[in-house]
């Protein structure tokens, strides 16, 4: 009888342990984006100075879009890295910031204090964040020369990922025009 109880217990608990072991390897907050490998949704947004940025017009050169906010600590942590990246790839990669649920005045203050790595675009109704399936800031989308999303970083982007993906995007051949 005891042996049967033991076997029954193993039969129930073993699959549960395997399931838990598998699940603990993944952060439930991180959901892989279905947009990777697909064309980046085009948008037109105004920056803090009223300039309109049209994503479609930037095709031909890689674009890094970072959804960020001043209330988000990882956004502040990654800010110097993005500043450095924007300087390093000046003229090679476009760096665009999209304000995620934040007051543009606070963004302007932040930029004045810490510097800006690119235009901060005002996504007033959140439609662009929805189109990119943003869960929360910061999220960074890497868009290749052909307008296809190459990769995505959730949370503060790391130096290694930035270097790796930027080099991959720069190595892409320019899309045929005409």
């Amino acid at each position: 009888m005891n042996r049967r109880v033991l076997l029954f217990g193993f039969g129930i608990s073993l699959p549960l342990l395997v399931l838990l072991g598998f699940a603990f390897q993944h952060d439930p907050q991180i959901v892989e984006s279905p947009l990777i490998g697909r064309p980046a949704p085009d948008f037109r947004l105004a920056d803090l100075d009223g300039n309109i940025v049209d994503l479609a017009e930037l095709r031909g050169r890689p674009v890094i879009i970072n959804f960020w906010a001043t209330y988000c600590p990882p956004c502040i942590v990654e800010h110097p890295l993005l500043m450095a990246g924007a300087r390093r790839w000046q003229g090679e990669i476009h760096f665009l910031g999209v304000i995620f649920q934040d007051d543009p005045d606070l963004i302007a203050q932040f930029n004045a204090e810490y510097g800006r790595w690119g235009p901060s675009l005002i996504d007033a109704d959140g439609g662009v964040a929805i189109a990119y399936g943003v869960y929360g800031p910061p999220e960074t989308f890497f868009i290749g020369r052909d307008g296809v999303i190459v990769d995505k970083a959730i949370g503060a982007v790391s130096r290694d990922q930035l270097l790796d993906v930027a080099n991959r995007m720069l190595a892409q051949p320019a899309p045929a025009t005409g």
Partner: protein, 220 residues
């Protein structure tokens, strides 16, 4: 055409409290990254960040300019339904909102969540339904962006079948266990009855041998 506003339409995330000024933030978190970034950018020329060639001053716009934001029709194609309005729109928007998971507070639907993301998604869904997109098209639009995770009730296919079948399987297993237990008890009761009858019979036999009284057997 929507106007580009500096204030934006987002509800405040701070419930009336002013967000902390950047200067108030702990600079200690910035410094280590700043040091790493400085070494990263050592070879980079010190220039102003790139200004995209696509950027044009809003005041210089002339003639037709597409609206600011995202052109959802580029992503969704043509509406397959008819534009909804009034109560019908309210009902359809509420149904869609109840089916979609809030990306911020993941245990709630966007109908139940007070998060700004949920607010924006509700507004987006309502706008799409008003334009004539069907409920399936609207849910599909969000699913294409956030993945199937955005559906509160996953589709009954593939591994998801486990989610749908598990409750029924557990109930079935429970019923089976109870039935087995009842059957075992019944057979135990029957065995006990047999045993008791045997004991009574033995008692009766003993009575016949001893005092010649009733042996407990009924006449047939």
């Amino acid at each position: 055409m929507r106007r580009a506003t500096r204030a934006g339409n987002w509800p405040s995330r701070t419930n009336g409290r002013r967000p902390p000024r950047p200067a108030d933030r702990r600079r200690a978190t910035v410094l280590p990254t700043l040091l790493a970034a400085l070494s990263f950018a050592a070879s980079a020329p010190a220039q102003e960040p790139d200004t995209p060639p696509g950027a044009a001053p809003a005041s210089a716009e002339s003639g037709y300019q597409p609206a600011l934001g995202i052109e959802t029709s580029n992503e969704l194609g043509d509406p397959l339904g008819r534009p909804l309005s009034g109560d019908e729109l309210d009902r359809a928007a509420a149904e869609v909102a109840a089916d979609l998971r809030c990306p911020k507070c993941q245990a709630l639907s966007i109908a139940d969540s007070g998060a700004a993301s949920a607010h924006a998604m509700r507004a987006q869904a309502r706008s799409l339904l008003a334009q004539g997109y069907t409920r399936e098209q609207v849910v599909g639009y969000f699913e294409q962006r956030y993945g199937e995770f955005v559906r509160l009730a996953p589709r009954a296919r593939g591994l998801n079948l486990i989610v749908w079948a598990a409750p029924a399987a557990i109930v079935l297993l429970g019923v089976l266990l109870v039935a087995l237990r009842l059957r075992r008890r019944r057979s135990a009761d029957e065995a006990l009855d047999v045993y008791l009858r045997q004991v009574e019979r033995n008692d009766g036999d003993d009575g016949n041998d001893g005092d010649g009284g009733d042996n407990g057997e009924r006449p047939t």
